[in-house]
């Protein structure tokens, strides 16, 4: 993770101040109406305020009580607004960081791009349109997202990715996309603008985290309906209670009924719902991943198949030497030494890994060739061998058949031990490299695609979460199978073409599965678009970035796993707080119901298990608890509930215990404590 998107502390002073201001702005009815639970709370608060004014006016002695209830009901709304504003504030802070990458540069727009001359006019970047072609030279900022159509340049993308090492961008191929706000360090490029300023994926993201374009995601919508339904049910309960109480000659005031209603309706989750959604997006950005819709983040939680590129995600991407297998009569030590000599001038990762293995496992010091006449034989595509001539010693290494030819043997005609070793290596997906000295085979080097450490455990964790991992590789099926089993993936696609990927995704989707994948090339674009969650690499082509619904600024394909976790965490936070909110109601009944009917039915005092001081203080305490719990839970809403990669039933048991059972117990304690304070301060 880059330092740029550092995590601001939960209640950053600046953000909190701005949020406090916004919390008042959000009292506008248009904003309130978007959240049914909080809207009802506001309407009820207004009603109680009117009651308070009446009580003041006629002086019936309950104005202190109704005034306090009204105030706390308004606080409930305010706290809910504040929660949303804090989340938005944090999102805005992120957006500002992103926005800083865009500068109002002057672009050099080519006037006659077809004429192959370089006539240009200077225009401000915001005036560029899609399809314009601009020229960018060293030390200039790229004015907008685009595709290189001519030239090659090294580009500093640290403004976006936080990664300071420059990257090469060139026309054609998979590295032709450039991002607005990044700087060309050397050479020049001609860039075709693909997104007018203000419409790039960055802009879309900024709009999303700022909340301006926030639409309810499908799941958020379904939950809102449930919450609205609960609100309606409690409305029936409270209104009918007025009539039912009338039967026992008890007249319940609007104030107490309003208090009962607001404590029963799910204000806790209702007030935190949008904050949870915004915080989920925010967590993703902090993770240097940009989603173009909230829906994508939610879908990430549902993903049940991950398509992972082998190279870079599962393996390091280079074949590394892991074993020296000598022919009979040659010691491993001797083979290691010879192989080392053959690789001294080999600067490929394979060559360096041979040196490293010989030095590390066989403790062979790097030989000094100062006074020996050494002639290196470089690798050529024709002979497919390389090596070194050290005086008398003629050492060669290379592909098995090429080395066999070099020692004048036919295919498969090496010594049995040699053939066996070669076979074994091929069978397990490795690459055998034969070594010969002075026209004699002396052994085989085992080159292997090394699986990243810890990846197997991660795949196990994913399996426990019910997510299937599929490795995608261009390797042949034998090699692919070997690596797949070593890495512990559930399935693999060998010799994969972009069409294969697309076909696989479609087949899995037909079975009802949700697929996530990452990709960077233009030929990945169809698959990225087809996948439910398509994560394009920032280093990839513009086409790929447009096709996916997320962009990883760090271009790290392993992140797919974390993206899934962030999606799950988002849903879990919603579910847990909903459970908590509803479980809270039990205690509120025990506080309010005996208080309402103490005069008519003193017997109901038996239900006052908390031993609350007086009916007024019981009702007031329940209302205060109901308001304060929103504030208390803001950090949890922003951070999300802890996610652990365990089976769903285990996760459910845990969350039910914490938020279900906890949700029942906490308010009993909370209301009691507030009641002690309220009666100590003689507020009721």
């Amino acid at each position: 993770m880059s330092t740029k998107h550092a995590n601001p502390s939960l209640f950053d002073r600046k953000i909190a101040l701005e949020a406090a201001k916004q919390a008042f702005v959000k009292f506008s009815p248009r904003v309130l109406a978007r959240n049914p639970v909080i809207f009802v709370t506001a309407v009820v608060a207004a009603l109680v305020t009117a009651m308070w004014l009446r009580d003041l006016f006629i002086g019936n002695g309950v104005a202190l009580f109704s005034g306090q209830i009204a105030a706390w009901l308004w606080f409930t709304v305010l706290f809910a607004n504040f929660a949303e504003a804090v989340a938005e504030g944090r999102g805005k802070a992120q957006a500002d960081a992103l926005r800083r990458t865009r500068t109002d540069t002057i672009a050099r727009r080519l006037l006659q791009p077809d004429q192959r001359n370089d006539l240009f006019e200077k225009v401000p970047a915001p005036d560029l349109r899609e399809g314009d072609i601009v020229m960018v030279s060293a030390n200039e900022v790229i004015p907008a997202d685009g595709e290189i159509i001519e030239g090659i340049a090294s580009v500093n993308e640290s403004a976006i990715t936080g990664e300071s090492a420059p990257v090469i961008r060139e026309s054609g191929g998979d590295r032709s996309a450039v991002t607005g706000g990044t700087t060309v360090l050397s050479d020049w490029i001609k860039v075709k603008i693909t997104a007018a300023p203000g419409h790039s994926f960055l802009d879309r993201m900024i709009a999303l985290v700022e909340g301006a374009e926030r639409q309810k995601t499908p799941n958020e919508l379904a939950l809102s309906i449930l919450l609205a339904g609960m609100t309606l049910i409690f409305l029936f309960v409270v209104v009918s209670l007025w009539g039912i109480a009338g039967y026992s000659a008890t007249v319940l005031s609007v104030t107490v009924l309003a208090a009962l209603l607001v404590t029963l309706i799910p204000t806790t989750i209702g007030g935190l719902l949008s904050a949870i959604g915004i915080a989920g997006m925010d967590r993703l950005i902090r993770f240097n991943v940009i989603a173009t819709s909230g829906r994508a983040v939610e879908a990430a939680g549902d993903v049940d198949t991950l398509l992972l590129d082998k190279t870079g995600t599962i393996t390091f991407g280079n074949r590394l030497a892991t074993d020296f297998l000598p022919v009979p009569g040659v010691s491993e030590q001797a083979l290691a030494e010879t192989a080392m000599l053959a690789s001294l001038a080999d600067e490929t990762p394979e060559g360096r890994s041979i040196l490293a293995l010989a030095k590390g496992n066989y403790r062979i010091a790097e030989p000094q060739l100062g006074n020996t006449k050494a002639v290196t034989v470089p690798f050529s595509a024709v002979t497919r061998i390389s090596g070194v001539d050290l005086g008398e010693r003629i050492i060669r290494k290379g592909a098995v058949d090429a080395v066999l030819k070099h020692v004048k043997l036919g295919p498969n005609s090496g010594p049995p031990a040699f053939n066996e070793a070669v076979d074994r290596i091929s069978r397990t997906g490795g690459t055998p490299l034969a070594v010969a000295e002075n026209g004699k085979l002396i052994g085989v080097i085992h080159l292997k695609d090394v699986v990243k450490s810890g990846i197997k455990e991660r795949f196990n964790a994913l399996r426990n979460m019910g997510i299937k991992t599929v490795m995608v590789t261009g390797d042949n099926p034998v090699t692919a199978a070997a690596i797949a089993s070593e890495a512990g993936v559930d399935d693999f696609i060998a010799e994969a073409t972009p069409e294969d990927k697309l076909a696989y995704i479609r087949a899995e989707q037909a079975k009802g599965r949700l697929i996530a994948m990452c990709g960077d090339g233009t030929n990945d674009a169809p698959a990225l678009a087809q996948a439910d969650v398509g994560v394009a690499m920032q280093s990839g082509t513009q086409a790929a970035r447009e096709a996916g619904n997320m962009v990883d600024l760090d271009s790290n394909p392993t992140k797919l796993i974390e993206i899934v976790e962030i999606g799950k965490q988002l849903l879990m936070t919603r579910g847990s707080l909903t459970t908590f909110s509803i479980a809270n109601d039990v205690a509120k009944y025990f506080a309010i119901i005996p208080a309402l009917f103490l005069v008519t039915y003193p017997e109901l005092g038996a239900l006052n298990v908390m031993g609350l001081a007086s009916p007024e203080s019981a009702i007031l305490s329940a209302v205060i608890f109901n308001a304060l719990i929103i504030v208390a839970l803001i950090p949890l809403a922003l951070k999300g509930v802890a996610y652990r990669a365990v089976a769903a039933s285990e996760l459910l048991r845990r969350n039910l215990l914490i938020y279900g059972l906890g949700g029942m117990i906490v308010p009993f304690i909370g209301i009691k404590v507030i009641d002690i304070l309220v009666s100590a301060l003689h507020l009721a």
Binding site: N219, Y247, M572, D585, Y601, L656
Partner: protein, 562 residues
């Protein structure tokens, strides 16, 4: 509470499960069979039904509403015109308009609330051709709907839910009719009358003349229990010596009530291809039901402390109970008849102790799902399962699904619409009645007990139960009309959104279950489902119950009665 008492209770459940399991599996086979039998074919040809043509949820629901509406009209007219019709040995006159409306709605909705005394109001013809026919039809309607909802989970990307006429015919001809014949014959053997004669007169030992009502009791009694109808031939229902002649017939009545509703979850499990899913629903239902039996039994055995004060040897509450059946069987009957939407009674619920009376009332308010009415219990608990799974699904970080069907905003909207009906109707009508002098004049008791009577009546009507908290004179225009409306809303306003959910789910692709989706067949899900049902129900009715039975209980402990 005694060991023998508990033994009786446990034995009933053992027999029910042993009978329900094979019945459920046989029903799964019956409703998935593609080819109609010869008998069916004849019936379909007679009715002009194309049995091979499946219906969308809307067509299916419309067919159901149409036949039920027709049934309502016929039953209304039969009652109004019974003096023109045959088999009226007592020479009863036509039933009054509000009562005929109430009774027709009551039998069409499987409620079988009776504002009338059967033996003194209805002719044999109305009892047999009207009431008993509706007993079959309303029960078969419930089964058909449950089958359609089950298919929504069994099928993937389907546009249709089956053919209503086929399901209705099969439920009647192959499930209810054979069972009713067997149980009816058993009831006759156990001493229930079955005759077309009118009342007989007898001279009692004191020399007084007594009219003893008789009629086709056993045949109506069998379907009354099997179809969770509950409408008795006699006013006293199953506590009448002819409706409950012996402890054995009482035992058989309880088993007959439970068996079809308990078999339906088994059928559900079998049809969706995972019997454990049905088993989980059944366990959840029965665990709650047995707990309720225990609660009533405990409350009644503990009885009323006032009794001890007056020198009784035991405080146990025997008021309103048949000594022939005892406390255990009375508690069992009371819980079962309200956990189901049956409503037959062998004990007077108004005479239960306050807490003992709270339990049946609360069981009805939970939505008649333990195990609920024939069919309605299954689709009722499925709605609760959808809501449980929605919250639970979120808690494990997935868009929730039940049996591979994603639950999205559309289903949520419809599920909410369905569960809104009951509290709206029950609390709404109770509140209005509690304020209305016109309604209050029907009350026999003052104080919280009177409120319980009203609350129970509307719960019973909206929940389509039909049992009563005696003491309320419901045969008034106000109660006949409002209770009739409550019954209609409780049945049909609930069914339509449920069928819409079924239609929407059937069209969805069945997604495969993984480790990430949490299992809906284990103990955890059962516990969750029970928790959601109890908390949701409790939150809705706690205030009303607090002012009725709960305050009455505390008052009783303080030595005050109403």
């Amino acid at each position: 509470m005694t060991f023998a008492g508990w033994l009786q209770i446990i034995l009933v459940f053992a027999i029910v499960i042993a009978a329900a399991w094979p019945l459920g599996i046989a029903m799964a086979k019956l409703f998935t069979r593609a080819e109609p039998t010869g008998l069916e074919r004849g019936l379909y040809r007679l009715a002009g039904v194309d049995a091979g043509k499946e219906q969308s949820w809307a067509t299916y629901t419309f067919a159901m509403l149409a036949i039920n509406f027709a049934g309502f009209v016929v039953l209304y007219l039969l009652q109004r015109l019974q003096f023109h019709l045959p088999l009226d040995p007592q020479g009863f006159s036509g039933v009054s308009e509000p009562l005929a409306f109430n009774t027709a709605m009551s039998f069409v909705t499987n409620t079988n609330w009776q504002s009338y005394g059967g033996e003194t109001t209805m002719s044999h013809f109305v009892q047999m051709a009207g009431l008993t026919v509706q007993n079959f039809l309303s029960a078969a309607t419930g089964i058909a709907l449950a089958v359609a909802v089950t298919r929504a989970f069994a099928r993937s990307e389907a546009k249709t839910l089956g053919n209503f006429w086929v399901d209705l015919t099969r439920a009647t001809v192959y499930v209810l009719l054979p069972l009713a014949i067997v149980v009816g014959l058993a009831f006759m053997a156990l001493g229930m009358p079955q005759t077309l004669q009118g009342s007989v007169e007898a001279t009692t030992l004191e020399g007084a003349r007594q009219v003893i009502a008789l009629g086709p009791v056993a045949s109506q009694e069998a379907i009354k229990q099997l179809g969770t109808n509950g409408g008795g031939f006699f006013n006293a229902n199953s506590s009448h010596p002819f409706e409950g002649p012996s402890a054995w017939s009482d035992y058989l009545s309880i088993i007959a009530m439970l068996v079809v509703s308990s078999a339906l979850p088994v059928m559900f499990g079998r049809m969706v291809g995972d019997i454990r899913q049905g088993r989980a629903l059944l366990i959840a239902m029965l665990v709650m039901l047995i707990a309720a039996v225990g609660a009533i039994y405990w409350a009644e055995a503990n009885g009323n402390p006032l009794l001890s004060q007056y020198g009784f040897a035991s405080a146990a509450n025997f008021e309103g109970k048949e000594v022939r059946f005892g406390l255990a069987m009375s508690a069992l009957f009371a819980a079962v008849t309200t956990g189901l939407s049956c409503g037959a009674v062998n004990t007077m619920h108004a005479s239960l102790t306050p807490l003992g009376g709270l339990v049946p009332m609360f069981l009805i308010q939970l939505g008649e799902i333990l195990p609920g009415g024939v069919g309605s219990g299954l689709y009722g608990i499925i709605v609760m399962a959808l809501i449980s799974v929605f919250v639970a699904g979120l808690m494990v970080g997935r868009t929730p699904d039940y049996l591979g069907k994603k639950i999205e905003s559309k289903e949520m909207k419809l599920a909410i619409l369905a569960i809104l009906i009951l509290p709206l109707v029950i609390l709404g009508f109770t509140a209005i009645s509690a304020m209305l002098p016109l309604a209050l004049s029907s009350l026999a008791n003052a104080g919280p007990h009177g409120l319980s009577e009203i609350l129970y009546a509307f719960s019973s009507a909206a929940g389509n139960n039909g049992s009563a908290f005696a003491g309320l004179n419901a045969n008034t225009p106000w109660f006949n009309t409002t209770l009739g409306i409550a019954m209609a809303l409780g049945r049909f306003a609930y069914i339509v959104p449920v069928m819409a959910i079924a239609g929407s789910l059937a069209a969805k692709k069945k997604i495969p279950q993984t480790q990430g989706s949490f299992p809906t067949h284990g103990a955890l899900f059962i516990a969750l489902l029970i928790g959601v049902i109890l908390i949701l129900g409790g939150l809705q009715y706690f205030p009303a119950l607090a002012l009725g039975p709960i305050v009455e209980h505390f008052a009783m402990l303080a030595g005050k009665s109403f």
